[in-house]
């Protein structure tokens, strides 16, 4: 449904994309994962006809983004990185405006606006001006505006960056609902967790190139999955704890801080707690640590995110 081959783009002598390849099969969700400045927004801009790539080729449903931009625009919905809705208009007026611009009749647009306001939990705020909205409400409205007339392909650029956890979950649910309706989705994110929650496949990009591709599990396996971190109240207990947990996996670290791979997540953690507390050893702290984008990055590239040395 979405295909790109060798997309390149420079701004002056700043090379933003060095040849991006990606493909999103119809009805699936692709997560484009990368740190700030990796080229996510530039990739989306090339695919949505906002920027002309310097080299390479991309198509939406077979329509070339450079040669048939008008056809591509007819098929896509775009939610940019910064919620772009009209601040002075109400939520309903925004949706009606975009609906009318997308060729719905006045009546269809009004009907669709009501439907979307309900779906996106904005019905109570529908008569308020957008400038009074919270960040989460704005994002939801932005998303609603992108699907007023159902697009075949939806592009979401960092849809939850800057949102509180509750709004984030809410937005995730909405994205899942759109996928369930068969919309093909390409979303970018800086969070491995988000890509993991939403995407069927993930493409990791760094400095304008694709450095890894696969499912969330593939990527996590390359990093080693979830860890259980435990901190002992007394470092002298280290040896005893090592023996106690030896059969659970390869225990790393030394002194009071130990790390254990926790493929079963919470189950591993509670097993550790039970065994340790049965012996009367005191834990200062215990937690699960999931691999973050930083860990994935480090594993894939050997350098940290945002680390400019190459």
């Amino acid at each position: 449904m979405v295909q790109a081959k060798g997309l390149k783009k420079s701004f002056g002598n700043m090379v933003a994309l060095r040849g991006i390849d990606l493909a999103v099969p119809a009805g699936s969700v692709l997560g484009v994962l990368g740190p700030n400045g990796a080229g996510k927004t530039t990739t989306i801009n090339c695919l949505t006809t906002l920027l002309k790539p310097d080299a390479g080729w991309a198509a939406i449903a077979g329509y070339d983004v450079v040669k048939q931009p008008a056809a591509v625009r007819a098929l896509i919905g775009v939610t940019g990185q910064f919620a772009a809705v009209d601040e002075e208009l109400t939520a309903r007026e925004n949706l009606i405006l975009f609906g009318r611009l997308l060729r719905l009749s006045a009546r269809q647009a009004a009907h669709r606006a009501t439907e979307l306001l309900e779906q996106f939990d904005l019905i109570e705020a529908s008569k308020r001006r957008v400038k009074e909205f919270s960040g989460g409400m704005r994002r939801r409205l932005d998303l609603a505006a992108s699907i007023v007339a159902e697009p075949l392909v939806l592009f979401l650029d960092e849809p939850t960056t800057g949102l509180d956890p509750r709004s984030r979950r809410q937005l995730w649910d909405m994205v899942r609902a759109l996928q369930a309706r068969g919309i093909t989705i390409l979303l970018t994110t800086q969070y491995l967790e988000e890509a993991d929650e939403l995407a069927d496949r993930i493409v990791v990009i760094d400095r304008g190139t694709v450095i890894a591709e696969g499912t969330a599990d593939d990527l996590k396996d390359r990093v080693g999955g979830t860890f259980c971190e435990l901190e002992l109240a007394d470092p002298k207990d280290e040896m005893q704890v090592r023996q106690l947990l030896a059969d659970l996996g390869d225990l790393q670290g030394r002194g009071s801080t130990l790390t254990l791979p926790a493929p079963d997540g919470v189950a591993t953690l509670s097993e550790v707690v039970q065994r340790v507390s049965a012996t009367g050893i005191v834990l200062a702290d215990i937690s699960l640590r999931r691999p973050s984008l930083d860990d994935v990055f480090f594993a894939l590239t050997g350098h940290a995110t945002g680390d400019e040395a190459s």
Binding site: M1, A26, G27, N45, T48, T49, L50, L51, A61, G62, Y63, A70, A71, R73, A74, L75, I76, V78, G80, F82, A83, A84, V85, D86, E87, E88, L89, E93, L97, F98, R100, L101, L102, R103, R129, A145, A149, L152, G182
Partner: protein, 273 residues
């Protein structure tokens, strides 16, 4: 959906949501104008200032120069109204530049660019909305001037022509200021430089004072520029003096600039990011 279904769905969407053609341009411009008018109606401070400023300038210039001009044999009320009308149109166009710069900043323009809407609609919608404001400003100003004794010495047709020429001037000014906003982009920058095209064009014109009152070396420039010709044509429509020459040059300037500004604005719009 299987791939054949998808393909035909894509085809029908591409057909339905085409963005070229004059009909598309008009209907999309009307929608964007509707949106701009809603915005305008919700910023009362702007409305008041735009409608009041021309009246303040009119009264001010009259108080300062009416006696002076009467020594030159000029009925200053009759002389002044056309240039104050054009000044009000400049204010209107400046308002449109600020709106456009805000839309660039919020990403609204970016969103429009990724939608299948006419490439001319953002400019068209801006012009249409600000024409509505221009009509309101002109009517209020003329009504106020009437109280000061301002009268059309001509026909009803001339009054209509006065309005039409004023609106053509506004259209060109909005297109020009759209280019201005699309080049500068930052709302603060746009705001602080609004006066740059306006002040020289307005002050170095024959609108406030006849060309003889300018220094010799400046006179050719003052005489040839569009605001002078348009003000002269409007004065002719008010007072029934020689119309054809100033009207001709005014139309040449305004239509020529309008075409140039529109083409540039639509091109710049397609590159906004």
């Amino acid at each position: 959906m299987n791939s054949a279904d998808l393909h035909s769905k894509a085809q029908s969407l591409v057909k339905l949501r085409h963005e070229s053609g004059i009909n598309r341009a008009i209907s999309d411009s009307l929608l964007i104008a509707w949106r701009n008018l809603i915005r305008l109606s919700r910023t009362p401070a702007v409305i008041v200032s735009v409608l009041l400023f021309p009246i303040l300038f009119f009264s001010g210039f009259l108080l300062a120069f009416e006696r002076l001009m009467s020594f030159q044999g000029i009925d200053y009320v009759q002389y002044l109204v056309p240039i104050i009308t054009l000044q009000a149109m400049f204010f209107t166009a400046m308002g449109s530049a600020v709106t456009l710069a805000k839309d660039i900043k919020t990403g609204m323009l970016q969103r429009c660019r990724a939608m299948p809407i006419s490439r001319a609609a953002v400019l068209g919608g801006l012009i249409l909305a600000y024409l509505v404001r221009a009509i309101a400003a002109t009517i209020i100003l003329l009504t106020f001037a009437h109280l000061y004794g301002f009268r059309f010495q001509t026909s009803f047709i001339a009054i209509l022509c006065y309005l039409v020429l004023t609106l053509l001037f506004t259209t060109t000014a909005v297109a020009g200021y759209a280019v201005f906003a699309l080049v500068l982009r930052q709302p603060d920058l746009v705001n602080s430089l609004l006066i740059v095209p306006y002040a020289p064009l307005l002050l170095l014109s024959t609108g406030f004072s006849p060309v003889e009152n300018f220094p010799q070396w400046l006179q050719p420039i003052v005489q040839v520029q569009p605001v002078s010709h348009t003000a002269a044509a409007l004065r002719a429509l008010v007072n029934g003096t020689e119309l054809l020459v100033p009207l001709f040059w005014s139309l040449v300037w305004l239509i020529g600039l309008l075409i140039a500004f529109s083409l540039i604005a639509v091109r710049l719009y397609q590159r906004v990011s």
